[in-house]
């Protein structure tokens, strides 16, 4: 061992990854806190076993319903509900996408002045904060029961969803590409067409297809609060304890969602 000159650290033969909380006291206090929370949390659960057993019986009835789904007795209602849902889905997706494009441009920091950005971002935030069911309840109260309220709800949600994700994509466009087109003397819309639209097109199509199948699923959910469609049919069947019809409706929904998901996935892959 030499002790000359500058402090060369001794050869270390051990190394530990730094802990995520470096103070050991704080770290163990944190672990203990998590454990305590779990114990108290589980301890505070009140399980009513009698009720659970009753529930099991009903659940079993439901399972039996699934084993013998009854498509025939409410077939007319299912068909109407399905038509309504599909109409709601397609129209709200189309209008939502059309409206989301200007909002997306307005929500992209690299394309618009700050005040436009703030307005569009606030709208997107509002649309994303309010859950579809809450919006649906509100719109059903305003416009009455039926698919029109559902259509408005889904349009509103689609604009928020598409605009937020598209804006993120637009903001990733390289500044130099926008500069290059501005430098040619191109107008604002021409810059949007060449530099922006051409680059976000695959994502626009992909997200639209994705949103189409989200909207179909949501149309089933918001029907339960009165916004029409197959959800309303399902709600009626459940209220009447017609589990076999309910099962039939759920099976229809599952089938359609699966078909929509599979075909949109296939289309998206083709477009990339």
């Amino acid at each position: 061992m030499t002790t000359t000159g500058t402090a060369v650290p001794p050869m270390l033969r051990q190394w530990r990854r730094p802990q995520f909380i470096s103070n050991p006291l704080a770290r163990w206090a944190f672990y203990a806190g998590v454990a305590l929370y779990l114990v108290i949390g589980i301890g505070s659960l009140e399980v009513n076993w009698e009720r659970a057993i009753q529930g099991l019986e009903r659940g079993w009835a439901f399972v039996l319903g699934f084993l013998q789904p009854n498509f025939s007795s409410r077939w007319g209602d299912i068909l109407i509900g399905f038509q309504e849902s599909l109409t709601m889905t397609v129209t709200s997706t189309a209008l939502g996408i059309a409206l989301s494009i200007p909002v997306a441009v307005g929500s992209a920091r690299n394309l618009v002045p700050t005040w436009v950005y703030l307005i569009c971002r606030s709208f997107v935030a509002l649309s994303r904060t309010l859950n579809e069911i809450i919006v649906a309840i509100f719109l059903v109260a305003m416009f009455g029961f039926g698919p029109f309220a559902g259509f408005l709800t889904l349009t509103f949600a689609t604009v928020g969803f598409m605009a937020k994700l598209m804006a993120e994509d637009i903001e990733e466009i390289e500044a130099s590409q926008l500069e290059a087109l501005r430098a040619t003397g191109a107008g604002y819309l021409q810059v949007l067409d060449f530099a922006v639209l051409s680059q976000v097109m695959p994502r626009l199509v992909g997200l639209s297809l994705y949103r189409l199948d989200i909207n179909f699923r949501e149309s089933a959910v918001i029907g339960i609060v009165g916004a029409g469609g197959i959800g309303a049919t399902l709600n009626t069947a459940m209220d009447r304890y017609e589990f076999d019809s309910a099962a039939a409706i759920i099976l229809v929904i599952i089938t359609i969602v699966m078909v929509a998901e599979y075909s949109s996935g296939w289309l998206r892959k083709r477009i990339q």
Binding site: E174, S176, Q177, A180, T184, A186, G187, F194, S198
Partner: protein, 278 residues
């Protein structure tokens, strides 16, 4: 042709990128802009076509003050100023032809450009430019299928599609290998000579700059600290622009290229004075 008077740019962050830059560029004059990173080279050329809004001073292009123009007038003026970028700035998902034609957007109406119905003359010009930059037959390839050198050729062709009088060239070779860099520089300068274009070339490779560009402007902290012929660049000038460093290797290679040039040009006497100075 282009005259910058006391151009000043202060960014909202408070950084003073340009501190009273005055510069004259004659028609057909080729000018290299050198300086350390952050000296304001990029800001300067972006102020010329107002991609960056100068906070003071005048930009005079053929008697028109660009700093005073409104948005329509500015778009009109920008058509005369082509721009070439370091990372090419092509639209990757569009075809080579669309990238070229985007140079004509300033002359084309929105709906015509939306449906990609450009004038026959524009299309003919695009084909001949493609041929000229060595990319004949590539019009239907997507820009992201090209190599770096090929992309920069498309970038050059796009700028020329504007039929500009002035080219602003921002680090054209920084993303390219040494051989391609030289080819690209040669191509840009040949095209400028052919068409009598003036160019401001922002470039950080001093050797490349002095070899290809007859006039050099050195920028340091937003101030012009050198403006003169490339052959007069020596240790003192480089130290003035970049700060203290051992410049021997660079000045020697500059001398070497200058000597090689002088074999077939009449620059011999100027070079000997350069050699004496060193």
């Amino acid at each position: 042709m282009l005259e910058l008077r006391h151009l000043e740019k202060r960014y909202p962050t408070g950084d003073l990128a340009l501190n009273g830059v005055s510069l004259r560029v004659g028609a057909g004059e080729l000018l290299g802009l050198i300086g350390p990173s952050g000296a304001g080279k990029s800001t300067l050329i972006r102020c010329v076509n107002r991609l960056v809004q100068p906070s003071g001073g005048q930009i005079n292009l053929d008697g028109q003050d660009l700093s005073m123009l409104g948005s329509a007038g500015l778009r009109h003026a920008r058509r005369q100023i082509g721009m070439i970028f370091q990372e090419y700035a092509l639209i990757e998902r569009l075809t080579v032809m669309e990238n070229l034609l985007s140079g004509r957007l300033g002359y084309t109406g929105f709906w015509a450009s939306w449906f990609r119905r450009f004038e026959g003359d524009d299309i003919a010009q695009a084909y001949s430019l493609l041929e000229r930059v060595g990319l004949g037959g590539m019009e239907n390839k997507r820009a992201d299928a090209l190599s770096g050198g090929q992309r920069q050729r498309v970038g050059i062709a796009r700028a020329l599609m504007q039929s500009p009088k002035l080219l602003l060239v921002d680090e054209p070779t920084a993303s390219l290998d040494p051989k391609t860099s030289r080819q690209i520089m040669r191509l840009i300068l040949e095209l400028c000579h052919e068409r009598g274009l003036a160019a401001i070339v922002n470039i950080h490779d001093v050797v490349l700059a002095t070899e290809f560009l007859p006039r050099i402007v050195g920028l340091r902290a937003g101030i012009v600290v050198y403006d003169g012929p490339a052959v007069n660049i020596d240790k003192t000038v480089l130290t003035n622009i970049y700060g203290d460093e051992d410049w021997t290797a660079i000045t020697q290679s500059m001398q070497a290229t200058a000597r090689a040039d002088s074999d077939n040009s009449e620059q011999a006497n100027r070079v000997s004075t350069l050699a004496d100075a060193l």
